[in-house]
């Protein structure tokens, strides 16, 4: 589907595949990371934090072109055309995008964190769709959601805290998916 419209089926595997194919260095954050740690609440987008190096953002820009990424905004039905390169991506803190495979949110510095290097430190690899994807730690998911403080974050925080406590009680739990 080439129109980047909002009616396409959500296919996060394709979004991740394009990012990996373009060798974008990123960590998976947000609701999908929460689901990987057990959250029962579904999410409708892929959230990532990319490394902020210029060459990485250039690769991200190429990936976004292949994904036919467009800007989405509340109150606007059709996503808007989105011209981008490494510099313009670096200038924005958050990009809310619609792609041919569903929504993709890019956050350079998620709330409560200092960005990629901060989150990469405790991130763990998981195999999804045959790809090795770096996912931020459960503690960092909680940290960013606590700082963001939106209704949808507050809704999921109690169960995430319980899951973190259970992992902490099981000493091997920190390394278990």
């Amino acid at each position: 589907m080439a129109d980047g419209g909002g009616a396409q089926a959500f296919d996060p595997g394709q979004i991740l595949r394009v990012l990996v194919t373009h060798r974008v260095n990123f960590v998976l954050i947000g609701g999908m990371a929460a689901v990987l740690y057990g959250s029962p609440l579904p999410t409708l987008d892929v959230d990532i934090t990319p490394e902020r190096q210029r060459d990485n953002l250039a690769r991200l820009s190429n990936a976004l072109t292949e994904l036919d990424a467009r800007l989405r905004a509340d109150g606007i039905d059709q996503p808007l055309p989105f011209g981008h390169d490494a510099d313009s991506l670096a200038d924005g803190g958050v990009w809310n995008l619609s792609t041919r495979y569903g929504d993709l949110d890019i956050s350079m510095t998620p709330s409560g964190t200092s960005g990629f290097a901060d989150l990469r430190r405790d991130a763990r690899a998981v195999e999804l769709y045959g790809l090795s994807i770096r996912v931020i730690s459960l503690a960092d998911v909680i940290r960013s959601k606590e700082a963001a403080g939106r209704d949808k974050d507050r809704r999921v925080l109690p169960v995430l805290r319980e899951l973190l406590a259970e992992r902490g009680h099981d000493r091997g739990g920190r390394d278990r998916w």
Binding site: A7, A9, F10, D11, P12, M32, V35, L36, G38, S39, P40, L41, P42, T43, L44, V126, E127, L128, Y129, V156, P158, V159, E162, L163, G168, W177
Partner: protein
């Protein structure tokens, strides 16, 4: 000022030792904040579902989420199509 040692802080940060409640309250005060504590009625329904999720592989967890998300989107789409003034 916090009357503690770097090694004690490191143990808190690593999760090896839980600081007591009074310690937490004192540290929060030292940082210029006050600690608000409240009680909510406990609801284990999300946790029960989460534990069930943990019995699945990471890929299956995501697959189920995607199925749910697409089902929700389809329902929303059909509702939007039928809700005329």
């Amino acid at each position: 000022m916090a009357s503690t040692t770097q090694s004690a802080v490191a143990r808190w940060e690593s999760g090896g030792v839980d600081p007591g409640f009074d310690t937490v309250r004192r540290l929060v005060r030292l940082c210029g904040f006050s600690l608000a504590v409240g009680l909510d009625r406990r609801d284990d329904s999300d946790l029960t579902q989460a534990r069930r999720q943990l019995g699945l592989s990471p890929q299956r967890r995501v697959d189920r989420m995607v199925d749910s998300a697409n089902s929700l989107a389809a329902i929303r789409g059909s509702l939007a199509g039928t809700s005329v003034g």
